[in-house]
Point group: C2
């Protein structure tokens, strides 16, 4: 199944199921996170599919994607996780995952514009993201695997000027409305084992990697995180980015006002976000 | 005014006002965050004070402190912020605040036990914390100062073994139920300009500092953070810790099972938390 969070005419959002016929069936939940918070969410979907009527159908062309998990309690990201890229840089594989946190305010929808005020070094990080489906605390890898609701596409867009101001990356990573996520979550039972992740700037391929080379896979990451903090339905874990970020280019390359960033994972979907870069770093920041 | 979040007999919590007579008056909000989310929160308190009856009064001796802001949307921490300590270490004052994020699950009440499973290097960081009282985004320092609801006491307890595993501190800082906060918030209008912050282990003074030596003061921190992410009523910003953490001692010193950590700020209050340290780092973690 593919699930989405769509904006509705009344200014709200609704969870929705992609049907086989180029449309979405709305579900009785405000977003995918609220849907997953219901333990019987698969039953909720079944019932909605049985009661389908015209008023529950949105044509795919009319779908307006909100952030998949607009109220995610936790958005935890892993850095330095693609083994082939780490080894090509001549570094040792890490013993532990490098983790940092964001808040849900960081998320934007699959086709939303990203408005940036005050950074001149806006960089891309195409990533597979894991959606948590049930509570996890002190979980082993098998329990963590069972708790994965599904997978989605994200871009951990990073303001490199702010990120490099101090040792901690947070202030370069947690800009409101800067992390595209969606368009859909593919449920774990229908997802591939491995994913091909690609990033494009104005149609030019800049990043490519396969999650088979992740040092810490999805279940490993969830298990590790759950050793110190509880994960709940609707929480999101970003698994890191492959080589090809702008900062690593010679010379470094960053997004310009009007650029379109595309983030794509085969079998899940594609994000396409135009960037509006409004001003240089203000003098007082 | 001093405001607290108290546990109630029915398993919930309530916001409460400290009265002049060694008791608390319960307020119509589940916690201080929910109270501050009401723009007219001062009026809510006034009305509750007018309608006072025995059923609204809790004797101070019966007060069971929940985390002051059990559902804080953001808990943002600043590191390396005490100028005297930085200079005594021979380092330059930082140009930008070092920021990292936690989630509300990290918070515990003023007298709660802290249960630690899987770290053998549990360290203390006594801190002044700032409670946000109104929305802030792209705010200057004056606007940020206006938006401070009040001040409270926190201890940014840190698992140094996990913190030092990678460059990012998050996994050593975001352990559920490990950051004591409270017992009360003193409203900004009644608070001192500067605060004397002290930490004790089993009654022995280990940390002491005055917030007059902060490199980035409360309003500066809130303004800086608001350049990239919105702050809302009930959000919490921890301002950093003075010298005297266990990691910096020779030899390093960490909390042992049964130790009591006391964190105190004159004019606000005192946290007193017993630590239960259950097991060494598990082999697979």
């Amino acid at each position: 199944m593919k699930l989405a969070t769509l904006r509705t005419a009344n200014g709200g959002t609704t969870a929705a199921l992609a049907t086989g016929t180029d449309s979405y069936l709305t579900l009785p939940a405000t977003d995918v996170g609220a849907l997953l918070a219901q333990p019987e969410w698969r039953l909720v979907i079944e019932k909605a599919a049985e009661a389908v009527g015209d008023q529950n159908i949105i044509a795919a062309g009319d779908a307006d994607f909100a952030p998949l998990l607009p109220r995610a309690g936790k958005v935890i990201c892993c850095g330095l996780n693609y083994g082939d890229h780490i080894q090509e840089m001549g570094r040792d594989l890490p013993e532990y995952p490098t983790l940092f946190a964001k808040y849900a305010d960081t998320l934007v929808g699959a086709n939303d514009a990203v408005e940036v005020h005050g950074s001149g070094r806006v960089d891309w990080e195409a990533e597979l993201a894991v959606v948590v489906g049930s509570e996890l605390f002190h979980a082993d890898e098998d329990q963590a695997r069972e708790a994965i609701a599904g997978y989605t596409v994200a871009n951990d867009v990073s303001m490199r000027d702010w990120q490099s101001r101090t040792l901690q990356w947070f202030q370069g990573k947690a800009w409101d409305g800067s992390t595209p996520v969606g368009p859909v979550m593919v449920t774990a039972d229908e997802a591939d084992q491995h994913f091909e992740v690609r990033g494009y700037v104005n149609g030019e391929l800049v990043q490519q990697g396969n999650t088979s080379t992740l040092v810490f896979g999805p279940a490993q990451l969830l298990s590790y995180i759950s050793q110190f903090t509880i994960l709940r339905p609707g929480d999101l874990v970003l698994t890191g980015t492959p080589g090809g970020v702008g900062m690593g280019m010679t010379p470094p390359r960053f997004l310009k006002d009007g650029d379109v960033l595309t983030t794509e994972i085969d079998g899940i979907g594609r994000l396409e976000n135009r960037f509006r870069i409004h001003a240089p770093v203000p003098a007082n920041a």
